[in-house]
């Protein structure tokens, strides 16, 4: 096993034992269980039913809570180890900074993605047992969207973790980033539009630069390819892209965002004092 995989493996094992991981896994697993208990799969509101309805609900809730979970659990990865002098000891062994940093990224990616994916998979399997028809296309596309959103926020979290000196500061910044991105899903954009100072095209561009927004629109487009529930905004999007290209963009763009931030974090990690 090379050192990068060794770091990833040990980070994964350490995370799985941590209390936050238990809460994280229980929240997403519990959501699926709650949807079944609440009879979401039997609901016919807005025309969605069965497992499609369950996936739609799951993804809507995930948009809000997955980013903050990833940010607050990952942002202390480097800064927390620096605070507690763990970094000082672990880096006294002949491990390159590249292996250490990217090993941590890989380990943490598996940690944050697996529970979200497994919860969705559990829901699908339970649905199959109950005799529901499985929307496999939507399932695979949601898997892609969850993977790309996980990578986007993981990259942002590692960047924050690398640039700050203390884990308290890292937590504060992570929370601020989440609030800003959340605000720019709806409220901040609506207020910008009401002020009438910016063109609609610019506001929609701002919206589509937000990984949370792009995740939401992509999720909607899987059920509603014409994006009718979004109103006139749909024209801007569908005039620019076909639905297939748009979904592909929604998966690739957050991955690029995540990798760019993670790479910037790595450069800062190498250039700054380690402890």
């Amino acid at each position: 096993m090379n050192n990068l995989l060794l770091i990833a493996y040990l980070d994964l094992k350490e995370s799985i034992r941590a209390n936050w991981f238990m809460v994280y896994a229980v929240v997403f697993g519990g959501l699926i269980a709650l949807f079944f208990i609440a009879g979401i799969t039997e609901s016919q509101v807005m025309g969605f039913s069965g497992l499609s309805r369950l996936l739609l609900m799951y993804i809507q809730v995930t948009i809000v809570i997955l980013p903050i979970f990833i940010l607050i659990t990952t942002v202390r990865s480097i800064s927390g180890d620096r605070d507690s002098h763990i970094l000082e000891y672990m880096l006294s062994f002949p491990i390159s900074l590249k292996q250490y940093y990217w090993g941590k990224v890989l380990g943490r990616f598996v940690t944050v993605f697996l529970p979200v994916f497994m919860a969705m998979l559990m829901g699908i399997l339970y649905g199959v047992v109950k005799g529901a028809s499985v929307p496999w296309g939507i399932f695979f596309l949601y898997t892609g969207l969850l993977l790309s959103m996980s990578l986007a926020f993981l990259g942002i979290a590692f960047f924050i973790s690398s640039i700050v000196k203390s884990s308290e500061m890292a937590l504060g910044i992570a929370f601020f980033v989440w609030i800003v991105l959340l605000a720019f899903i709806d409220i901040a954009l609506i207020s910008l539009m009401l002020q009438n100072r910016m063109s609609e095209g610019l506001i929609i561009t701002i919206a589509l630069l937000n990984p949370m927004e792009i995740f939401r629109v992509a999720a909607i487009s899987l059920f509603d390819p014409e994006l009718t529930v979004m109103g006139p905004v749909a024209f801007y999007i569908l005039d620019l892209f076909s639905q297939g290209v748009f979904v592909l963009l929604c998966i690739l763009y957050p991955i690029v965002v995540g990798m760019v931030f993670a790479t910037m974090g790595y450069r800062v990690f190498c250039k700054k004092d380690l402890v």
Binding site: E14, I86, E88, Y89, F93, I95, D273, V275
Partner: protein
């Protein structure tokens, strides 16, 4: 073996290390002393490549610790003053050390046993749940098992009882002599018998360097 030339380190406006020049050779056993804030830990962190120097340079075996950190860390064992709260189990920590540094796990167990720490009984326990003394014993066992040419100990006996301290110094005496040992200490009487050089630091400068 370690060459330090006009080395300085500042944090904001605070000068932690001020134009320090020292050379350490193989066979040197050095006691590095000084009041809190004298710059001892900063010097060690610069040698280990944790800090980027503000001025001057460090070379370990001819290599820059920042650029060639993997090469120089293969030659160095380090024991920190306070064992960090590592969440890995003892078995996992040992796996990390063995795989990253090519250390023989049996040798770690041997030295741990000599320090009265039984790995087999604690292998699955989290490192941070051990007592301070047990943690320090494991870190010392790892440092000895690594069989490095350079040993850096930052107050290594701070958490140890008198018996464990004796064990530590006995094992050091039994190990190969042709290595460079650097002890950061406030208790010179403990290391007096094994060092051949004493360096005193104050306010980031070397104020005395006695070789005997």
């Amino acid at each position: 073996m370690i060459e330090i030339e006009n080395l300085s380190k500042t944090f904001g406006t605070t000068v932690s290390l001020d134009q320090v020049s020292l050379t350490f050779h193989q066979g040197d056993a050095i006691a590095l002393m000084g009041a809190n804030g004298a710059g001892k830990t900063t010097l060690i962190r610069l040698i280990l490549g944790y800090y980027h120097p503000s001025g001057g340079r460090v070379r370990v075996g001819g290599y820059d610790p920042i650029v060639e950190r993997v090469k120089i860390l293969k030659q160095i064992s380090f024991v920190p003053q306070l064992p960090p709260p590592i969440k890995l189990s003892l078995g996992e920590l040992m796996a990390y050390v063995c795989k990253s540094s090519g250390v023989d796990a049996a040798l770690i167990e041997h030295y741990a046993h000599e320090m009265k720490l039984h790995i087999a009984l604690n292998r699955n326990k989290s490192f941070f749940k051990l007592s301070g003394g047990m943690k320090q014993k494991l870190l010392i066992a790892i440092s000895l098992a690594k069989r490095s040419r350079i040993m850096i100990f930052d107050e290594p006996t701070a958490n140890l009882d008198p018996k464990a301290r004796d064990d530590f110094y006995r094992l050091l005496n039994e190990s190969e002599t042709q290595k460079l040992s650097l002890f950061v200490t406030h208790r010179i009487e403990e290391v007096e018998a094994i060092v051949n050089r004493k360096i005193y630091m104050d306010l980031g400068k070397v104020v005395s360097d006695e070789i005997y």
